[in-house]
Symmetry: C2
Subunit: 199 residues, 2 copies
DNA sequence: CTTACCATGTAAACCGTTACATGATTCT
DNA sequence: AGAATCATGTAACGGTTTACATGGTAAG
């Protein structure tokens, strides 16, 4: 991430700010990780730094890419997509939730989850509105840079929308299950074949 | 994860196998992590263990939940959904890909990404077919246990479908951009207002 | 006899978080 | 005078991966 952001020279502090308005949506990082990583990358020859006195506050150590750093970035970009091993704790909680033995726990869980996902979706939609509204500070979606960044935003939007759709599906099925048990109609009295009902 | 799986007593080796056919889709783990974690949890009073000689191979250390372990599991399930800080390296690669300055890199990247996502989607669809086909070894989706597990699978399915949809959108837009540049028609000659085109 | 599977671990390295530490400048 | 922001870091802890280490049993 740092190599990617350092196409313009910047200090650790700068980089953290850039992180927080762009990259953090798919890769958060703390200052306490940024500084040592910059030091290590300089040691490894991917970066070089210069001390510059700033207009306000103490001196800034401004990093920029070396040839090796730029090569490392390009190599990473040409790698296979790094899908890796994602960990979704919220799915795990849901997966084991039958142990709580209470449908209300599940309903409350999914409702809260959906609330948080909707909040995130709205954040993304707000950014998209500003972007397409032509705000300065966002790169033109017609440029190569703007296209890649804008589509990254779109990926977040579609991801949230899909997760919210799943929440709605879960809630729908929970309601149907509930109805089936409390007011048994045709559905509730269906025969099961070998203890298992086909959907 | 281990607490969730240990609703039935099991050894580390067993747990790893259960991981690999269920939990790993949203939380992978290695044996070298399972064993020390079980030891730590026993030290912390969440688990108790018994040495049992097995029919084949060496003795097995079989773990089961203590009261505290079960309470810890239930507390986790009643927590807020743990959305946490996801890291999506493949989005990061895409985000910075303008640095490669070559649209073919992007096209190839998204094509490969979509291939891998489709492979995963097909895995999930295969599992769903077996499940709904009434295979033994899958819990009844009408039971509480089966419902939670089946919907966890559905979340993976919808997730993959959404990601694939995004890939298709990216490819569509790349093709349109390409056409706009190589055979400029009405689209390609559109005037830009202040260097920025509204979509 | 060799391969695969059963079964349990340890060690080293890296990644990431939280908390701690320091000190200057600018704004209210 | 106090709060926010600029600016740079260290330390301790826990999670995760890769590689290493060991040895028994069963099937081809």
């Amino acid at each position: 991430m740092l190599l990617g952001l350092l196409q313009v020279p910047a200090s650790g502090y700068d980089l953290k700010k850039h992180f927080d308005c762009t990259v953090r949506f798919f890769w958060p990082a703390e200052l306490s990780q940024v500084y040592p990583t910059l030091q290590r990358m300089e040691r490894d020859g991917l970066l070089k730094s210069q001390l510059k006195s700033s207009s306000k506050g103490p001196k800034r150590r401004v990093y920029s890419l070396t040839k090796e750093g730029r090569d490392a970035l390009l190599a990473w970009l040409r790698n296979d997509p790094a899908l890796g091993d994602q960990r979704y704790e919220f799915i795990a909680q849901f997966f084991f939730m039958d142990a709580a033995d209470d449908e209300h726990v599940t309903t409350r869980y999914i409702t809260r989850l959906r609330g948080e996902l909707v909040r995130r979706l709205e954040t993304y939609e707000q950014i998209e509105r500003e972007w397409l509204g032509g705000e300065e500070s966002y790169p033109d979606p017609d440029s190569s840079r703007g296209f890649h960044r804008y589509m990254a935003l779109r990926s977040g939007l579609l991801h949230m929308a899909a997760r919210i759709g799943w929440c709605n599906d879960v809630l729908r099925r929970l309601a149907r299950r509930h109805k089936g048990r409390t007011r048994p109609g045709k559905r509730g009295t269906q025969k099961r074949i070998a203890g298992r009902r086909k959907i």
